[in-house]
Amino acid sequence: MQQTLESFNKSLNLSLTVKSRLLLLVAALALVPTFFMPVWHLNFGAQQYPEGLTMFIYPSEMVGGDDGNDLNEINILNHYIGMDELREEDFNEFKWIPLVIGLMIVLSLRASAIGTLSSLVDIIVFTIYFAGFAMWRFWFMLYNYGHNLDPKAAVQVEPFTPPVFGTKMVGQFTVGSYPSAGAYLFVLFGALLIAGIYFTYKERRNELAAN
């Protein structure tokens, strides 16, 4: 164990192999479409909504299904229980998340050009932190909306948290919360980074032993 760690630590300054650099380039490019793709979506199904209502979350906006009207409809329904209206301008996330994704692309491109294993590890650590933070933030917003209900609302319900991941009954609605195409690209991004580390480490660790 000790040996493996030491060997890995020593390898951190190794510059990346061509294969790893190519993987990094692909990883950087894989993130580009996420600007235009939903990363997450929520479905609301009920008997009188045979097509369901859908809300897509993009890095920079939220969009309702049915040409945007589903978001309007969700807000109309939520007003009965005194939930705040979901308004894009109330989420500063939509301003900084695209910047962060841009940063990840730039760092990946930089590593692809002049990177070492160490810079790759930095990107991975940052990505894990960002993903974790974003999920926590998502949960926190859902919690907030579900717990800050107007006490004068026409319909009184127990405070609740809509699902972050999975399916849950909320009133007469079956609410589903699942990743969309953008999220899978983030997974691909992470996998390519790990593959990049693996290939450089595998090919070049013998050089360390030789020295």
């Binding site: 040409d67 009207n69 309007n72 409809e73 109309i76 009965y80």
Partner: protein, 631 residues
């Protein structure tokens, strides 16, 4: 055991047979509830069954007759789905209560809607508009099939009894219209009925349709002898430039006390009149007519070579052009035959000037030169539809049946009765019939609806105001099969049946959809509501949304003239809201994304609640406000 029955057994058998006979005479009562059903009934039931949640294959648009509406049903289930109000106010959708539809109704509170016609491209239904005539007050209306709403009602000047409408030309260039009840020209003129033959006139009309907007305008009118111009049709293919109308009372008599039914049935033949609408339009454009009430009015001589009569068995009703446009089928309702005219023969007779006489400058084509055949379909033939497979279907009013018969070619000198394929009895006294896309160039040949005038005893009794009946008949196989009895309010005349996928509706007026004209009075947020006053004119911009009306208090002075502009800001389908004001006869219904205006005088002081009439949500009951009318 050679003898089948011993003599002493005969008496009891006879008695039993007699008893059975008695019971069947007394019986023939329809069974109540779900019948046991033989296999024929089971297959009919399956053929019309549309499972809950499933959709019908065709739209059926029935005219509502003197109800002034159109009824929309699905085929094959025959379920009534909606009513489109046209010439009559309809509180259910607030039609005739808001300023716009009220203005469209023009002060009339009813109309007699007769013959709906779908717009066509190259002789096929294009699913854009529906037109329908109104007999009593000489109007035509256009319905937009995107939202199933009446968009225009056109009053046709100079004309009385607009019955020979609406039939559209192959590319919806023109709609037909014609006088059923001739009056002194222009209508509104006084002349005693003793001067019927000389001073009374019929009018044939071409109504022009804007190809983009569908807006209708009177193109031209031709003043013709005072016959009763009845039904019409527009040509197709080779005959596409022509319009045809049947007419009765070519005796041109209305003798006080002598009964028109008698005086109009004296001659053996009446006429079909045919007009070349291109020639009529050209004559109007060339300024040959004179302007009467803003319309180019022509005389037959102005349209030389463009107007002819053809003789037809007396008192005809239907005149129907075959899908290929090569034949014109005329039905004289007092003759047991339909007449098949061949358009090629008509063209030849016109070219050869083969006329038997000239009536008021209108040449009459020699009957034997244009007639191809007389088909002995049965008693009281009224109207004919087609299946696109070489058959015609003619309704027989007197016989209460539909006759299926073969279209040409026919063998030379053949006995024409051999071309009658089959007859099916209907209940009862059929008027028009409507086959699936049956008056287009490409009929579908699967369904036929018999529009019967009488339905006695076929339904639970509802007292003496007996509804009409519409029977669905399967014409897809070799034999016609009766599938279903449906009943309608008074009184479908003609109908149109169109494949459902040809109609593309919207169910929400999307805020940014450029198709719909933007209302200058629309508002979309509660912050934009306003009450403004200029003198005693009060204007309120309002909105409705689940579950409130904004503003919820309106203060006016007694005597103010108040206009409410109400926008339903919902963008979700089926979220309609209504707005009624108690005691003020205000009732409008606003569809999602729609803005309607209603104007009234606040002539009663006091406090009047207003509320949403169209159930919308769990808190619909709470959707209310107050209009305070200060004395």
């Amino acid at each position: 055991m050679k003898t089948l029955m011993k003599p002493y057994l005969i008496l009891p058998v006879l008695l039993a047979a007699f008893a059975l006979l008695l019971s069947t005479c007394e019986g023939q009562k329809p069974s109540r509830g779900r019948g046991a059903g033989g296999s024929a009934q089971s297959s009919a039931a399956l053929a019309t069954y549309v499972a809950p949640g499933d959709l019908d294959e065709y739209y059926l648009f029935y005219s509502g007759g003197h109800s002034g509406q159109i009824f929309v049903a699905g085929v094959p289930s025959m379920r009534h789905i909606a009513t489109i109000p046209i010439f009559t106010p309809y509180p259910g959708t607030g039609y005739g209560f808001d300023d716009e539809s009220k203005a469209m109704l023009g002060g009339y509170t009813w109309g007699d809607s007769h013959h709906p016609a779908l717009s066509e491209t190259d002789g096929d239904y294009n699913g854009r508009w529906m037109f329908i005539n109104e007999n009593a007050n000489s109007r035509v209306a256009r319905i937009d099939l995107k939202d199933f709403k009446t968009k225009q009602i056109l009053k046709i000047p100079n004309l009385s009894g607009n019955h020979g409408a609406t039939f559209v030309t192959e590319n919806t260039e023109y709609i037909t219209s014609a006088t059923r009840m001739s009056t002194p020209f222009p209508s509104g003129t006084y002349a005693d009925v003793t001067k019927y033959a000389t001073d009374y006139k019929g009018v044939l009309v071409g109504i022009k349709v804007d190809p983009e907007s569908g807006e209708m305008a009177v193109g031209w009118e031709i003043v013709v002898p005072p016959f009763d111009y009845d039904l019409g049709d527009a040509g197709k293919g080779p005959s596409a430039d022509w319009m045809f109308w049947s007419c009765y009372n070519s005796e041109r008599e209305f003798i006080e006390g002598a009964k028109l039914e008698v005086t109009a049935s004296q001659k053996d033949k009446d006429y079909v009149v045919m007009v070349n609408w291109r020639k009529a339009a050209a004559a109007a454009k060339a300024g040959k007519g004179r302007k009467v009430n803003g319309v180019d009015v022509l005389l037959p001589a102005d349209v030389e070579g463009g107007i002819f009569y053809m003789e037809l068995a007396k008192s005809p009703h239907g005149v129907d052009v075959t899908p290929d446009g090569r034949y014109i089928i005329g039905s004289g309702k007092l003759s047991p035959t339909t007449t098949v005219f061949e358009f090629a023969k008509i063209e030849k007779a016109i070219a050869d000037k083969d006329f038997s006489e000239v009536v008021d400058d209108i040449p009459v084509l020699t009957y034997n030169s244009v007639r191809l055949a007389e088909i002995p379909v049965g008693l009281g033939p009224l109207h004919t539809q087609f299946d696109g497979k070489g058959h015609a279907y003619t309704s027989l009013f007197v016989e209460s049946a539909v006759a299926k018969w073969k279209l040409p070619p026919y063998d030379e000198g053949a006995d024409m009765s051999q071309y009658i394929v089959e007859k099916i009895p209907v209940a009862y006294n059929i008027g028009h019939l409507c086959a699936a896309e049956g008056d287009s160039k490409t009929p579908d040949g699967n369904y036929l609806v018999a529009l019967n005038k009488l339905s006695k005893g076929r339904h639970l009794s509802v007292g003496p105001s007996i509804p009409e009946s519409a029977q669905l008949i399967d014409i897809g196989g070799d034999n016609m099969k009766l599938l279903y009895d449906a009943f309608t309010e008074p009184e479908p005349h003609y109908a149109q049946m169109i494949k459902a996928d040809k109609i593309n509706t919207v169910e929400v007026y999307k805020k940014d959809d450029p198709y719909w004209p933007k209302s200058p009075h629309a508002i979309w947020t509660p912050e934009e509501t306003e009450i403004t006053r200029r003198g005693n004119r009060v204007t309120v911009k309002m909105l409705t949304v689940r579950s409130f009306i904004a503003p919820d208090v309106i203060r006016v002075q007694k005597g103010d003239k108040v206009t409410l502009h109400v926008t339903n800001i919902e963008q979700t389908r089926d979220e309609l809201h209504g707005l009624a004001i108690n005691e003020y006869n205000v009732n409008i219904v606003i569809d999602p994304g729609e803005t309607k205006s209603v104007t009234f005088t606040a002539d009663k002081a006091g406090v009047y609640a207003y509320y949403c009439t169209n159930f919308c949500s769990a808190l619909h009951q709470e959707m209310q406000g107050y209009m305070l009318v200060q004395p």
